[in-house]
Symmetry: C2
Subunit: 144 residues, 2 copies
DNA sequence: CCCTTAAACATGTATATACATCTATCTAGG
DNA sequence: CCTAGATAGATGTATATACATGTTTAAGGG
């Protein structure tokens, strides 16, 4: 009986990581039929928003180490969802969605929307906005 | 110049994961001299709070898959920070802090406190409480 | 033009994370 | 007691994540 309800942990990091795990589970489940993980979806969506962008730049937007991105991009490339070319600065790799990547993203968006809508309903508009604002604030503060 | 400021991403999951990465970076940096990662610290602290507990139970508290925990516990065990014994139910593993684990936690707490205090200052009491409350809410909602 | 320094990315390694599958054990019926 | 189903963990595999280090290219100073 009385399973110990989820309680606030004293550590902000632990709380956030836990929420991140739980939330990722939802998104992953929804995207699984497409063979997409949440992180991969995020990269595709980000590329769709930015257009062609160097790896470093994408890393900054996602607060993700560029070498971490290398591994994820490898998967996206293997699936044909992105295209990469050298920039004028030959050290840079310029990333963009491929045609197949746009198609995959288009397939994924409705599922993603459903999860988003369900959560927005659960939190209410205010809670939702607050959540986006606060987590964004965390990123800013932690990035300084 | 004008580095594109961190902007809110349309995806809650992406936002939360990004905040999680950024925040973890802070905690990791602070704990690195002790050879502790944020996740490992979280487990030690949780065990300190719960006392002896089966792996499954700890997984529930942390919203972490029990098999994921197996890998982290392996590291903690290798370092001598936890002790494990079979429960009356022979399938269960009962986890607890070892003496060395309590010592390690004791060394880590002041560093952890410093990061927590700095963040609490940046967010203000209200922002801080709100953050804990909302992320906890996310875990609950996503766990249902 | 050469050299030093720095930046962008690749690679090796370790940890974090979860799922599918397997084994051992428990529980409930019969 | 025996068996069928369920549960706790272990293990194999794949991805997510970052750091240390190495390579290539760029940028600046002599």
């Amino acid at each position: 009986m009385s399973e110990p309800a989820i309680a606030v942990l004293p550590c902000l990091c632990a709380n956030l990581r836990r929420a991140s795990r739980a939330l990722t589970h939802l998104y992953d489940k929804s995207l699984r039929p497409l063979g997409l993980q949440a992180t991969q979806f995020t990269v595709l969506q980000a590329l769709s928003l930015t257009g062609e962008i160097p790896q470093k730049g994408l890393g900054r937007i996602l607060s993700m180490d560029s070498t971490t991105l290398t591994r994820t991009l490898e998967i996206l490339l293997r699936n044909g969802w992105i295209a990469i070319r050298r920039g004028r600065d030959r050290r840079e790799r310029l990333l963009r969605l491929s045609w197949a990547g746009e198609a995959q993203l288009k397939r994924a968006v409705p599922r993603w929307e459903k999860v988003q809508a369900r959560l927005r309903r659960k939190f209410g508009m205010d809670g939702w906005d607050n959540l986006l604002k606060l987590t964004n604030e965390v990123t800013k503060v932690a990035t300084e």
